[in-house]
């Protein structure tokens, strides 16, 4: 297969999972409340995730280890367990939010409460993991995820003022409501820099048998793929800024976020929104389920792999089964999916350094990445952005809890 075709396919597959309920909810909030002011958070998050995704691919290609695998080997079981607990907890909350997103999409279209849809959508997610192969999930998720381009179309139709949009790229202080501003910024960062994305990516690189020849492809895929996702997220923000902000609507419910597409695209837009929400969340849920199973299996030495039959990777299969079941139950219990989404994104930001620092050490360790170690720019960028996200989250989360 020609290199170009490989890159194109790779880009497609990496898009899936970037625009999901977290990205949609956080950028919609940002656009509605603050216009274009928070575009810099999307940009910063996208830059950081490009570095991290590229690193996870490079680690897998050169060392033939996944991140969790290498983490346990290099740092021992204690540090592995700390990262595992943090990852599993956050993945669980985000997975519940994605199931909530799917359920809400169905609620939008049918009028039946999302709590009734939690089990069916959870079951669908599980069934696809149980029956599917890695290639099917990788490609299926991304191809379906292309429907998110509806947001770009909507943004273009609304004719946004380019100078103001570009001005939003520059980080700035809050125009008003500082706590809400920083909390939203933190949530956007957490939505963009989701650890499950690069756990999934690194395990995928191993499942696809990458080696040093793939380093160039990896760079292209990570950069273009994640940039495309960043563009999608920015499109959501821009549409929210043009549709909701002038009306002073701050979305408290997903029905209001649906206005984003219903306004510019009419009735079709409403269904497009529901469809985008459903498909994007499904993709993310699949990746989350797998990423969690990888976290357990890679560090504990279990047999693993989506291409392996369930009976040959029993504990691996059990872990995603239990995760999905518990997450669905959380949604049946009726937790507000939108609030859960915003919170789990903020928590992701808070715990970023726990995930990124050991990972960075690995990426500079010759025993793992040989001569393909990190450039100092990658190190500096990831350290800076992780610290920024975490410190902001440390301040913003309690304040939001007290005030909101």
């Amino acid at each position: 297969m020609s290199k170009l075709l490989k890159i194109a396919l790779g880009i497609f597959t990496s898009i899936g999972g970037f625009l999901e309920v977290g990205a949609i909810a956080t950028t919609a909030q940002a656009g509605a409340a603050f216009g274009f002011s928070l575009i810099w958070a999307v940009v910063l998050g996208t830059i950081c995730v490009i570095f991290l995704v590229e690193m996870s691919g490079r680690l897998a290609a050169v060392s033939h280890h996944t991140i969790k695998d290498a983490l346990r080997e290099r740092f021992g079981p204690r540090i592995y367990m700390v990262t595992l607990v943090s990852d599993v907890l956050i993945n669980f909350l985000v997975l519940a939010a994605e199931i909530g997103g799917m359920s809400l999409a169905l609620q939008l279209v049918t009028g039946i409460s999302f709590r009734w849809w939690a089990i069916p959508t959870g079951f669908l997610t599980w069934l696809l993991l149980w029956k599917g192969s890695f290639g099917l999930i990788e490609n299926g998720v991304s191809l379906l995820g292309m429907v998110a381009i509806a947001f770009v179309v909507a943004a273009w139709k609304l004719d946004p003022p380019l100078p103001e949009v570009l001005a939003g790229v520059i980080p700035r202080l809050p125009p008003h409501q500082p706590v809400h501003y920083w909390f939203t910024a933190v949530s956007i960062l957490g939505a963009a820099i989701s650890p499950y994305l690069f756990y999934f990516y690194s395990a995928g690189a191993i499942e696809d048998h990458w080696d040093e020849d793939h380093i160039g492809v990896n760079k292209a895929v990570a950069t273009v793929g994640m940039t495309f996702g960043g563009v999608l997220a920015t499109a959501v923000l821009v549409v929210a800024a043009l549709v909701l902000h002038p009306r002073g609507i701050e979305p408290q419910r997903y029905e209001q976020i649906a206005l984003l597409l219903a306004e510019p695209l009419g009735r079709a837009g409403f269904y497009l929104f529901a469809g985008t929400l459903l498909v994007s969340c499904l993709g993310a849920a699949l990746e989350l389920g797998l990423a969690t199973a990888y976290c357990f299996a890679n560090g504990l030495g279990w047999n693993w792999g989506e291409n392996v039959r369930p009976r040959d990777a029993a504990r691996f299969t059990l872990s995603y089964t239990v995760m999905i079941a518990l997450a669905s139950i959380l949604m049946v219990a009726g937790i507000d999916p939108l609030q859960l989404t915003l919170f789990s994104m903020a928590l992701t930001s808070l715990t970023l350094p726990i995930v990124t620092f050991p990972f960075l050490v690995l990426m500079n360790d010759r025993d793992y990445v040989g001569e393909y170690g990190n450039h100092w720019i990658s190190n500096a960028a990831v350290i800076a952005i992780s610290l920024l996200a975490s410190v902001l989250a440390l301040a913003a989360i309690p304040l939001q809890l007290m005030g909101g």
């Binding site: 960075l360 050490v361 990190n374 100092w376 190190n379 500096a380 350290i383």
Partner: protein, 103 residues
């Protein structure tokens, strides 16, 4: 269980602090090296690092070129000590026993 009198467990030795008979800390066991000898792998050396939280944080920082260029992580060093310089009769309290030598 630390193993019978004839056995030691590597994972329980790593991280222990080696002290002199007087109790002065010499270093922290970072790793143990072994070499093939005939059919077996035989232990050769124990690698000791500095003691203390500050030292270990520096060790971590030293891994990242970013911090290195900032000047951190400089002073951390490790030394390789021959196995027979250490006494493991009490595995939880490794003793440095090479007399007359500065560790």
């Amino acid at each position: 269980m630390m193993g019978t009198a004839r056995e030691l467990r590597v994972e329980e030795l790593l991280g222990r602090i080696v002290r002199t008979a007087a109790g002065r800390p010499v270093g922290r066991i970072e790793d143990i090296t072994a070499e093939p000898e005939g059919e077996d792998y035989v232990v050769r050396e124990v690698i000791l690092g500095d003691v203390g939280l500050r030292a270990r944080l520096f060790a971590l920082a030293a891994q990242l070129p970013t911090f290195q260029s900032l000047g951190l992580g400089g002073p951390y060093r490790t030394r390789a000590i021959p196995w027979h310089w250490l006494d493991f009769s009490d595995p939880s309290k490794p003793r440095f026993v090479q007399p007359g030598e500065k560790p």
